[in-house]
């Protein structure tokens, strides 16, 4: 049925198969490169517009390093003036990494937050993406007047019922983003004046 193997035909066939497959994949890569980039960009823009007030241009900032961790940040401008910063902030939740996009307006108040990715328990920690009361409290949260930790730990954050660990992680991520904003704001001030 199958042909007798010898060194020559094995080499030829495997090389041939690999060449054809690579050519096919190369073509597919070129064709899908544009749409994949567009999809990634659309996702970033969607999360940015969810956490920041209206803006017309976004400047991506090179990795900002605070306390030894690199953060991915965006500066949003409306008619040339800064309306806010969006900071991608990650921490470890109950089930694994929890990544947030946190929008902070120039006065240091959190505008809104949104979850980029998480692996929390469905129905418990995963409610950080659906629990209206938990999500609403981040809108206009002023970290200079309130303490960014859950009420159980003496802070001002209402935890999700039965998901204190997720709520703690969420608060930690927001706190990290606020720290990044403070660093950015100090640097910005020094540069301008």
């Amino acid at each position: 049925m199958a042909i007798q193997s010898n060194l020559k035909n094995m080499t030829v066939v495997l090389t041939g198969v690999c060449l054809v497959c690579s050519a096919l994949l190369g073509g597919a890569y070129v064709l899908t490169k544009g749409p994949i980039e567009k999809a990634a960009q659309a996702k970033t823009e969607k999360s940015l517009s969810a956490v920041l007030p209206g803006f017309d241009t976004v400047e991506e900032m090179n990795n900002v390093s605070v306390d030894g961790t690199d953060y991915h940040c965006y500066k949003a401008l409306q008619g040339g003036s800064v309306v806010g910063y969006a900071i991608e902030s990650g921490t470890i939740g109950f089930g694994g990494p929890l990544t947030l996009m946190v929008g902070v307006t120039p006065d240091g108040v959190v505008y809104n937050t949104s979850v980029l990715s998480h692996s929390e328990t469905p129905g418990l920690g995963a409610k950080c993406t659906s629990d209206a009361k938990f999500m609403a409290q981040w809108k206009g949260f002023d970290p200079s007047a309130k303490i960014l930790s859950v009420k159980k730990d003496g802070g001002d954050v209402d935890a999700i019922t039965a998901s204190t660990i997720t709520s703690r992680a969420y608060s930690r991520a927001v706190q990290a983003a606020v720290n990044v904003f403070r660093t950015l704001n100090d640097e910005g001030g020094q540069d301008n004046e």
Partner: protein
């Protein structure tokens, strides 16, 4: 090993894959994606369709090239062909269904090592013609898709109180265990029992 080329024979290949050779409930192959991705009906359906696509194309390609592949290198050659189609699916999903890719992303590359695909290549495609292999791939792929959709639907109904994303218990949580790993095993076990009971009766 020429098969008779009647229409009924091809139809039988397809129905065999759906029922008698059902990969999930009878052959019990490809359990990793089955258990991991069926948290909802739509996830199960998408995983099934991605596998179906790869299975049909790899079966066709392998049956076409099998006669010229030396025996000693047939496994590496098949794996390269299968991996090519899987990567193709991955790129397409990333480009055109990014939301779906985020849920299933981790499991798409694992289709390469899904026993169903290499199993069908070894057991069927390398001994049969292109058209029969396509029918076999379609049958087994549909069997896998249906099983995953049913399993996903059962887990979604019990676990989240919804079906295909449509919530029918309004705001309440379902029995959460069913969307997590233990629920996957329990549901799969019971569905297997029901399916095989039905098969024995007929």
């Amino acid at each position: 090993m020429k098969e008779d080329k009647t229409m009924s024979n091809k139809l039988k290949l397809i129905t065999d894959g759906l029922v008698r050779n059902n990969p999930t409930f009878v052959l019990i192959l490809g359990m990793c994606p089955t258990l991991a991705t069926t948290t909802s009906a739509i996830n199960g359906l998408s995983m099934g369709l991605a596998t179906l696509f790869v299975l049909v194309l790899s079966n066709m390609a392998i049956s076409a090239v099998a006669p010229v592949i030396p025996d000693k290198v047939h496994i590496p050659a098949y794996i390269v062909i299968i991996a090519t189609f899987v990567t193709l699916v991955q790129l397409l999903m990333q480009a055109y269904t990014p939301a779906m890719y985020e849920t299933l992303g981790l499991f798409i590359p694992l289709i390469v090592v899904n026993c169903i695909i290499l199993g069908r290549a070894e057991a069927f495609a390398n001994k049969h013609g292109v058209l029969e292999s396509a029918c076999d791939g379609l049958g087994v792929g549909l069997g896998f898709t249906c099983s995953l959709t049913v399993l996903g639907a059962v887990r979604e109904i019990l676990g989240s109180g919804s079906i295909f994303g449509w919530n029918f218990i309004g705001g309440h949580d379902g029995m959460l265990a069913f969307v997590m790993a233990p629920g996957a095993f329990i549901c799969l076990g019971y569905l297997m029992v029901l399916f095989n009971k039905y098969l024995k009766k007929n």
